[in-house]
Subunit: 344 residues, 4 copies
């Protein structure tokens, strides 16, 4: 397989390169850019010395049409314009940005404050939450790869909503992310001396992943709801941990909740059900495509605490994108992704 | 004033030493220990070289009775036994441990899984949440200094509960703390290589600060409620940020909420009301006795997001303890505590 | 005393504000800017809310002449132009930038690659390494506050060179700094995700502090030498540790070396001689004006290892500047600086 | 191939597991312990859930003899006793501890302060610095895998000593390591709150890697010398950067130095020669088996600065051990090790 990556200089792009390097079916990886044409890639990213010493290539429809798959890992607002001419000309398209996730263009414009992608393409694009949408992904030509927060949240709460174990009308989702989620562009908030040793909250009640989560709850569990969702910045590089609180429906037991998880994900290699609270944390999935999930029932309040943990750059971005590629091409989901987390 | 510190080797003790060093009314600071008698303090804590080169002293009622105030900063289960003989013999007692916070001994035994302090002393002790209990603190001979999490949570939510702006029956409190909150005793979970770059949750729905918060909501706002409360470990040393979600009562506006905060704390030098979300974070209070509070109303859900931020070792421990001492001795609350946060 | 700070938005400026806030003789602190006139200071730096809510003032000779002392904490190349009109008009001037440190304008131009300050002013300025230049500092109207690295290096090695215990012709100085030394301007190298968990070297053999160190060795120990000096970036915010290697002169013992340190600094409150290797490290001086020094003789090689440790923003910048101000005004050196290091 | 790991709970052991998981020729990995027999491995190390859920096995000669290769990753002083009965009974032995590195038992006893391994085995063991000892490694039945610091130092300085470009009589080696090098056992010095934001030096002139480096300089470059070598602790988890200073022999140019590196390592996939100082740092090799090397000549002093960078747990431990296994079994050196560094 021949793979092209647009947006290789972003952190999602770097992780695509890292995993595709060890993918058994990928024989060629080309890196494209809109602005740094000709730059030797390893001169900007020293860790790729001897691995990607070739210059960045210019984006062009002709060149791109010869690839089997194109990953786009760009800031929001780029692929809404970049991808339309590439649809149908050959390569499968997997977009890691938010531009094709929201089906309703008004939602995109409201939350992203940018122009939406063409409505038709929004309709045709497939939301690539692999574990919940495998059949659609198989057939898709344009995949909207899920956001990092939605991946951690949805994988951990969808089973309970679908099986009517928790009340979806009062979902409080408190999410925390490592700073790599803010991307590779320097700013005061991500300047080491000001981000280090600081825990903060941002975009209170205004994060663009809110409508994405609500849409997916409707899509996969058939429930329309309005969630409370907030995001915090953790002084570390990688990892998301999302804590969700919800009331249970009467009589539900912790055993039922755990069984629901085990049953839902029994054939999914990347979702692990954790029962020991001392065994869950972002470093348990670091560098890997795993999503770890834990649920606890609080009998004092009859509310559950649900934890979903991922590496935001892997299962929350590049890893899930490759997992989707594997499904599209009929390969085992684990091709190129069967790695042990780093832990330390 | 002559001050004694029992438990000087803990992080709360070290912060007491740091602030009392610059307290205008404190002329003598003696350090006591139950186990390391004779150890030169600065040989264990190099940062105190030339400042505290004297040996640790042995704890004894006779010696301790000559002090004006004794701070105890020990693990739970120690002062329940240590303090009874010292009550009434002279010094004001300020206990930074959890042993005198819960009025009901059964609550202590249930949540701390240890023997409670004598019921009579529990009755007489005063809960030292300074801003909410100043009159009682003035008269107290034994102060139960609040826990770190309860301080951040209570200061940020009590105004709204008391003024009936939010519904206290559905409080979701998601708290995050730097690792110094786990104390100075090495363990696998606080071993650098395993704690670094890891965000985790612990004691799900079982933290001993739960009954403390519920008791204080009853005491200061007259409301009995059952809260959801969880605690997370952030890979940084200092700081607590607590995020609380609650439904508003119908018709409440964000302006009302902010006014409520401004009004409640208008004469309190250590509580700051923040309105810009980019200006709140643990590094804004680092090393200081400030508690920063921010509230946002989410009109989509009619729920509020309330943020309370403190330095867990200062306002959450040593700083508030000294603030209480100041109140007990009729000094300005800011004596010894009027410092600028470090930020970086 | 009335104090003006130019460059208050830099990290050196922020530390000046932090310490001057508690200085017993300072009654007024005004903050000046060349570009952000009118900006409410605490809206940019939330940690100063309720402390510095006033707007930044415009720099002007008339306004500045009324102050007792002006601190300039600006990037290199600014005060070479800014200060000349202020010399002699009233306030003592303390420059934290490198513009007045090198006596030879060609050295400045070579190492800083910028235009030098006027030669006359270079001649008149006094190098403010307080412990080694107190008499000159007392009389100075323009102080060139030492660089962060030179402070850690010079305080730790000058005694041995002056007393002819080590051979100054083969000094290898390997220095390491926290990232705050790179200033407050965001860049790729200081972007959290790329600086975190990374230890690197920079400006190999080209750091502008090289001529400053060599000049001061000549000035204070009467020796002309050429040093090897390199600087590394440590993934932490504050602190410098400099490790120097040098051959001893024949027959010198470790006891002589330690005695030399003790003797040199016996009346200096901010220099501490450490003998236990487990008691030296950047967190032992964090947030304070201390310089900790340790020396070990390696009998296998007849070379010494000398360690100098400071907080780069305090003894390496703002703290030493205030120490110099105290000396200029005949105050105790410790005024406003007598604080306990944070340690954690 | 069947592989056994003794000491799987250490950080070296965990990295062996991580890399062997993706090794094309390894079909079975068994984990052994001297103390925790029966413990389900993933219950202690949550990141291995679903990957190593089997219990730890008891160490026994009979069991171990059936493996093709045994890795021992234990504290010093263990394999000196553990390995002798296993020599010659079947499996290739690769020891990651220091017990078989020093040829002279007195050196071991002096620097490690423990009993040495049997002299005969010391004689037969092969020092596994792969790039410099490939022919011996091929034939070895017992490999002493190099220490982390010696790997970074030797790979970066040996070429220049062997080619007589630098003067080996005055080598100053200043090394810095992430905290994982201190192992997985909690202590005060590695307790998060005390290790975080702290840069320190340890074991001044007494590190046990000193004789190992001197012995290897003699072995591979035929030079007996006495080095200055110090080690520092960096507040990050992974990575070593070693900075070496040495005088050049007269007339040597930087070009010659770089050519020497390029020539020495032209056929070695894991050594990369870096020429841009902005492209060298521990995160450029993180998680990989690369050693990055950079050399700069300082014309002012006629001394070189040589930088060697590795991931201490990979090229400095598990990675190099697997590289040695590959050589022993005639496999490509890159089998199982051809991964892209994480960078962030």
């Amino acid at each position: 397989m021949k793979v092209g990556i647009i947006g290789a200089t972003g952190y999602g792009g770097l992780e695509l390169i890292r995993f595709l390097h060890n993918h058994p079916e990928v024989e060629k990886i080309d890196l494209f850019t809109s602005s740094d044409e000709g730059t030797v890639f390893s001169s900007r990213f020293g860790h790729l010395l001897t691995i990607h010493d070739e210059p960045l290539k210019k984006i062009g429809v002709n060149t791109l049409s010869n690839f089997d798959v194109i990953f786009t890992s760009t800031p929001s607002g780029v692929t809404s314009k970049l991808l339309p001419p590439l649809v149908g000309v050959g390569p499968k398209l997997i977009d890691l940005s938010g531009d094709y996730r929201l089906k309703n263009p008004h939602d995109y414009e409201k939350w992203y404050k940018k122009d939406s992608a063409p409505t038709e393409l929004l309709k045709d694009s497939v939301y690539g939450l692999t574990e919940w949408n495998e059949e659609e992904v198989k057939k898709a030509s344009l995949i909207a790869n899920p956001g990092c927060y939605p991946t951690a949240v949805l994988l951990s709460i969808l089973p309970f909503i679908k099986e009517k174990l928790i009340d979806p009308s009062y979902l409080i989702i408190d999410a925390k992310s490592g700073i790599s989620g803010a991307g590779n562009k320097p700013s005061q908030a991500t300047h080491f001396s000001e981000a280090n040793e600081n825990f903060s909250i941002y975009k209170i009640n205004e994060h663009q992943h809110i409508p994405e989560i609500e849409q997916a709850i409707d899509l996969f569990a058939g429930v329309k709801t309005t969630i409370s969702f907030n995001t915090h910045l953790v002084p570390m590089t990688r990892g998301i941990l999302a804590t969700t609180y919800a009331p249970i429906f009467e009589g539900v037991t912790e055993e039922q909740l755990i069984d629901c998880l085990l049953d839902t994900y029994k054939n999914n290699p990347f979702v692990r059900i954790v029962t020991d609270v001392n065994s869950i944390g972002t470093n348990r999935v670091k560098g890997s495509n795993f999503c770890d999930i834990l649920v606890k029932l609080d009998k004092r309040t009859n509310r559950v605490t649900i934890i979903g943990v991922i590496d935001n750059l892997v299962k929350g971005a590049a890893g899930q994108a490759i997992q989707n590629m594997n499904v599209q091409f009929g390969l085992p989901q684990t091709d190129g992704l069967d790695v042990v987390p780093l832990f330390i």
